[in-house]
Symmetry: C2
DNA sequence: CGAATCATGTAAAGAGTTACATGATTGG
DNA sequence: CCAATCATGTAACTCTTTACATGATTCG
């Protein structure tokens, strides 16, 4: 048996707000959600078909003629989403971090290797952080935006906090090392 | 084509220090490495066979009679490991965080749900942090330990820093919310 | 109209998880 | 000696990614 399916619940969560096409769902994974889960269109389209068969979602009347297919959440889907959110999270987040792995295998004498690893990683994280902060400035200009999309606001904040923490650690550890 | 193979490099990194059995390698993933990559024995044993066929590792003479199989890194393996470490890391770390995902889908009126999510997560992270700090106290009692296993020390520190950052964010955000 | 791209979908293959299997060893 | 477990290995199945495919639309 494989690992527990998460993707359909994420799709339900997105459709909870408004009907979306497969393409639009795919694009969401380039934004905040992508910080905490990845999925590509070749997973999403079959998943939508399956969820429709299971009556978690159905096809929306919006733009029915056009070539885009809008899906909307059903009342069954809403229940399933609520149940999932209420299930306690008992696993730690999974992190796959090549930087940390490479660090694991260096010895203190590999000074150049260590410094290069750190410098590259600092650049990488800095760029991502800049991108996240730009999104924050764009989307959450006033309090009403925050109220309306509170969950989105929280996980964007969380992503920013995480990257800032990493960046700070990288910089102080590199400074200590030198 | 699938994602890039990482496991063999991790195994090389472990074998760089001393010969190990498949079982011992498996157990390493319950320690620091498990913070940044997961693997189970059913991946590791076939991978060892494959790496031996590719001459990245070979069977050690240690305990050759016993039922345990010790593997050691070859000089080819050492080169391949060094090359891998020197390749720049261009991808961001992958994070899969169910807590953040669930947070994404709540609205501000779901006060109980949000508080429960936060409280559960605080407990989860606290326990993990306690465990990591216990390992730190156990392994790195003096400076010579740090020198000798510098990479191990760094990624343990990194894991601790990460969890502490998350915990601080969880606590202040929960306090703000109330 | 022709080229680029959009939106949807399918195919192929390795990655990773859980469960099952087996012979050796240990311990009461 | 029998049960538990150890160390290794295999099997079945899903996940995930990359590449390929196709018809509709847009734009110069």
């Amino acid at each position: 048996m494989p690992q527990k399916r998460i993707l359909p619940y994420i799709i339900l969560g997105l459709l909870q707000e408004c009907p979306l096409t497969g393409k639009e769902i795919t694009l969401q994974f380039k934004n905040e959600i992508g910080e905490f889960w990845k999925a590509s269109h070749s997973q999403i389209y079959p998943e939508l078909t399956r969820m429709q068969a299971d009556k978690w979602i159905d096809e929306s009347e919006i733009d029915k003629d056009g070539r885009k297919k809008y899906y909307q959440i059903t009342s069954l889907g809403k229940q399933i989403l609520a149940n999932w959110i209420n299930e306690p999270v008992i696993e730690l987040p999974l992190n796959r971090d090549l930087f940390s792995l490479k660090l694991f295998f260096v010895t203190q004498k590999d000074a150049e290797v260590i410094e290069k690893l750190f410098n590259d990683q600092i650049i990488l994280i800095s760029e991502q952080l800049k991108h996240l902060k730009a999104r924050e400035a764009l989307l959450f200009t006033d309090e009403s935006q925050i109220q309306e999309h509170y969950g989105h606001y929280l996980i964007l904040k969380r992503a920013i906090s995480r990257q800032e923490g990493q960046l700070a650690w990288l910089k102080t550890t590199l400074a200590d090392f030198k």
